[in-house]
């Protein structure tokens, strides 16, 4: 086994960053939403919708950047539905999230099969990528990945250093206390859920506009749920979610490289690595992560 001899460290790190992109974006979306007290298992559906909308817009306008914009807006819109259901109509937040996930599959699938599958629509091409020529093997790193990396400190700063972030955390811990301090809990929660839609929406654009240049049904493939896991075991912080995403993406990249290097082991068992590792980490190191106290609890003004 000449695995170590061929370990391309720079490539491995870049691959990990790229694969972690949708996880950390959606994960940070989850952080914002849940820090304000709204559980967001709709991340998967939001990403899928945005991936589709971004692609459709890019096809229609021949402009990938407009595609990104539309993906973000679509994410915000579908997140607004989650907000409406769970904040306004007091629907259990898990139910509301499930509704959105199913709806996203239905809507994107229907439109895909009607308008795209049998059409001659080609790919949109992909967003420009930074060519890291100074690294061995000169890997590429896409703009959405760069944006995600830039957003980590920004979201961290917003959450822990700004007025908005302070109010967000207050609403997620003790909405009544926030209300008595003169804060509009509804406004804060709406803003955060919609913001989480923007972040996850950018994560959706990753699939179609950064990586593939095409849309496929269900192409998010459960990464929204993995982002949710990353958020939880990143203890509801942007940096933690990033770390967790790196762990998962790194394990994924590693298991692929093991197989490529010809390790004589059933590839299905190698493929379990990221999932097993996540379970071990969740159960071991950070099992007792504590959610924001009011996370998941509808707030009703008397």
């Amino acid at each position: 086994m000449d695995f170590l001899g061929h370990l391309d460290i720079a490539g491995f790190v870049v691959a990990t960053l790229i694969a972690a992109t949708p996880l950390v974006l959606a994960g940070m979306g989850g952080v914002m939403s849940e820090r304000s007290g709204v559980v967001n298992i709709a991340l998967e559906g939001i990403m899928l919708t945005s991936a589709f909308a971004g692609y459709a817009a890019a096809v229609a306008t021949h402009n990938l950047w407009l595609g990104v914009l539309v993906a973000i807006i679509a994410g915000m819109l579908i997140a607004a539905l989650h907000a409406l259901l769970s904040i306004q109509f007091l629907v259990d937040q898990i139910v509301s999230g499930t509704v959105i996930n199913i709806l996203a599959v239905g809507i994107t699938g229907s439109f895909y099969r009607t308008y795209i599958q049998n059409s001659s629509l080609g790919g949109t091409g992909v967003l420009p990528a930074l060519h890291l020529t100074f690294l061995p093997n000169a890997p590429f790193i896409g703009v959405i990945t760069l944006a995600a990396l830039a957003l980590i400190p920004i979201v961290h700063f917003v959450l822990f250093n700004t007025v908005f972030g302070l109010r967000t955390r207050a609403c997620g811990e003790h909405p009544l206390a926030a209300e008595t301090a003169g804060i509009n809990v509804y406004l804060v929660r709406y803003s955060n859920v919609i913001l989480s839609g923007a972040l996850a929406g950018l994560g959706g654009a990753y699939f179609t506009l950064q990586q593939i240049g095409n849309f496929l049904p269900n192409m998010t493939g459960g990464r929204g749920f993995i982002a949710l896991a990353a958020m939880i075991f990143g203890r509801w912080t942007p940096v933690g979610a990033f770390g967790a995403s790196l762990l998962f993406a790194g394990a994924d990249a590693f298991s692929g490289r093991l197989q490529i290097s010809g390790v004589n082991f059933p590839y299905q068992i190698l493929g379990m690595l990221p999932y097993v590792l996540t379970i071990i980490v969740v159960a071991g190191a950070v099992g007792r992560a504590v959610a924001p106290a009011a996370d998941g609890k509808p707030y009703k003004k008397s």
């Binding site: 790229i18 091409g125 590429f140 593939i212 290097s261 010809g262």
Partner: protein, 322 residues
């Protein structure tokens, strides 16, 4: 997707296609089979009308075939060896309906059932020769869908073909671990595996696994490496990859499906229960080099032509056994 049939038909033949769970959106396997059906429909001499059902679940296969039978269809085409057992069962129960299945060979099938199989290893072998000759680094890669017979055959042929062209070659390969609906359908994963191979020195990659394989082609486009497509001439079917695409290892699924339909219509249904598409009958091959035509040296082209001939006459083996 139901073009009008010619008006001069005395009898119209109804053909139904049942996909596997990869559905038509796989843009390769199921889509090509459907293309073959549509080719038959568009051939006005055949007088064929057709419909397709995409399967959501393995337990739906029989049910979906039954739907066509209930509608008195003349022929049912099923796609993929995943449907092998179900197709056999339904064919036995409905001897008056013709059945053809892509990628499956039976020992002694009933007379109304025929398998359509391909020597993917031969197509892969030819593509492998090109890859083995075109690589400058001496390392070639391949990103494969699930480890199932057709994919496995492509891989074995490709790697052996490359070694045939260049004995010192180093081959890298990766199968996609199964993960629910993502099998054959995760281009992002394929792209990242191909990128990893480039990091390990590969400069040409074979993408053989539906959308997952297409992802590998995209990686080659981005990294300015070469790539080899699969099943059909992907220069035509997947323009996103034109920049890197040297050639594609073809198996002519659409052709085979249209052949089977024609056999049904013209009453030339094969008695053997098996139609094999290989080097002898132009059932497999490699695509034109298109933009790379000038870069592929004449001796490589000659070697490919020679290999094709030898594969056809049996004097050259791909190394695939079983």
């Amino acid at each position: 997707s139901t073009p009008t049939t010619s008006t001069s038909c005395s009898k119209t033949f109804n053909v139904g296609l049942v996909t596997d769970v990869g559905k038509l959106s796989d843009k390769s396997f199921n889509a090509n089979a459907w293309q073959g059906v549509q080719d038959a429909v568009n051939d006005s001499s055949l007088c064929v009308k057709a419909k397709v059902i995409e399967s959501n679940q393995p337990t739906d296969y029989q049910k979906n075939m039954q739907l066509f039978i209930d509608q008195k269809y003349d022929m049912v085409v099923t796609v993929g060896f995943l449907l092998g057992d179900d197709t056999l069962a339904v064919a036995k129960a409905n001897p008056t309906v013709k059945f053809a299945i892509v990628d499956y060979a039976y020992d002694k099938p009933p007379a109304n059932l025929t398998g359509l199989v391909f020597r993917e290893d031969q197509a892969g072998f030819l593509a492998g020769i090109v890859a083995g000759k075109m690589t400058k680094s001496g390392t070639i890669g391949g990103v494969y869908g699930l480890d199932i017979p057709p994919v496995h055959k492509y891989r074995v042929g490709y790697e052996n073909g490359a070694k045939y062209a260049n004995a010192a070659i180093k081959t890298l390969g990766v199968y996609q671990p199964p993960s629910g609906a993502k099998s054959f359908n995760d281009p992002d994963w394929g792209k990242q595996q191909a990128t990893a191979m480039f990091g390990q020195g590969a400069d040409i990659v074979f993408g053989a696994g539906g959308n997952t394989g297409n992802g590998a082609l995209l990686a080659a486009v981005q990294a300015n490496k070469l790539c080899v497509g699969v099943d059909v001439d992907q220069y035509v079917s997947y323009p996103d990859a034109d920049k890197c695409l040297v050639t594609s290892a073809e198996k002519h699924i659409a052709f085979s499906v249209k052949t089977a339909i024609t056999d049904m219509v013209k009453n030339t249904w094969p008695s053997s229960g098996l139609l094999t598409f290989d080097a002898t009958n132009a059932g497999v091959g490699i695509s034109p080099f298109h933009t790379y035509d000038s870069q592929v040296p004449a001796d490589v082209k000659a070697m490919v032509a020679d290999a094709l001939k030898k594969l056809a006459d049996g004097s050259l083996k791909t190394g695939y056994t079983g």
